[in-house]
């Protein structure tokens, strides 16, 4: 594989030339269509991935089909890191692409060989692991401590602060991110509109009052 493919993954810029060369010799790239299921929860973890372009998400689903999104991945993010490092070496979540995606792929054996031989690669992954753990801690706190209203208000604020996603967000997708169901998202959006917090016109939601929304975002689950 061409070494310059690695330059598309920003965090690899901190690696030593020898490490980058070793990765480029064993890694390969894959192009994936939108909506493609890259990994299935519970299956053996056979590969690790680094996202070169596009967006993907990690999710868990219960037997009734209710979805909780655990993470959203974009440029440079590692995918399946925790599964490859865990004792049972099983995929912790299902991974789906949200757009056309290009990933850098490492086999599990190459992944472990690189960790053992190149301390800078290990340190980089440790940093990524800490970042992921911090996000999961925030998600656990969000789901257990805050009311659904608060989680929706916070999510809307996050979306408005971010660069708009080209695909937009359906009510189902919002529900999967904040740990609820579509009907509740619809009802709360109507409540927010009635309270003057948001304005809806067609598919456009305009947030009207940052202070009031920020206050709702702090409402705790009673």
């Amino acid at each position: 594989m061409e070494n310059d493919v690695l330059s598309k993954i920003p965090m690899f810029s901190s690696l030593q030339p020898d490490t980058r060369l070793a990765i480029s010799r064993c890694a390969f790239t894959r192009q994936l269509a939108p909506g493609y299921t890259l990994l299935i929860e519970g299956m053996p973890a056979e590969h690790g991935y680094f996202l070169i372009s596009g967006e993907a998400r990690a999710l868990r689903m219960n037997p009734e089909g209710r979805v909780q999104v655990l993470a959203r991945f974009s440029n440079g993010d590692p995918i399946n890191l925790i599964s490859l490092l865990s004792k049972d070496k099983a995929n912790r979540a299902t991974i789906e692409t949200l757009s056309e995606v290009t990933v850098l792929v490492l086999s599990a054996s190459d992944f472990h060989r690189l960790i053992n031989r190149f301390p800078d690669f290990s340190a980089l992954l440790l940093h990524q692991l800490a970042t992921r753990l911090a996000k999961m801690t925030d998600l656990a706190a969000d789901l257990s401590l805050y009311a659904v209203r608060a989680r929706l208000a916070r999510f809307l604020i996050e979306l408005a602060d971010l660069k708009p996603s080209p695909a937009g967000w359906t009510q189902d997708e919002i529900a999967a991110h904040i740990g609820t169901v579509r009907d509740v998202v619809g009802r709360l959006l109507r409540d927010f509109e009635a309270a003057g917090l948001i304005q809806r016109q067609g598919g456009q939601i305009t947030l009207q009052n940052r202070d009031q929304l920020a206050a709702v975002a702090q409402e705790q689950d009673l």
Partner: protein
């Protein structure tokens, strides 16, 4: 992204159940041979009902979220 005017319909996923066309509160959809289409003149209010009713996920009504002009000027600090 431009503001969506009507939900998008993926005809390859449609199973022709007609739920969207029958239950649309504005009668904005008509069932044709190839699947549901929005009527002209457009009466769709983007109420999102059809998306929730569709059993195959063929209808997608995405939302985009932005700050209004007034809220931008509020200083949180």
């Amino acid at each position: 992204m431009a503001d969506p005017i009507t939900p998008s319909i993926n005809l390859s996923l449609c199973n022709h159940c007609t739920l969207c066309a029958v239950l649309c509160p504005e009668d904005a959809l008509t069932m044709r041979e190839q699947g549901p289409v929005f009527n002209i003149p457009l009466t769709c209010t983007y109420c999102l009902e059809c998306e929730g009713l569709c059993p195959t996920g063929a209808i997608r009504a995405p939302l985009t979220v932005t700050w209004g002009a007034q809220s931008e000027s509020i200083n949180l600090s």
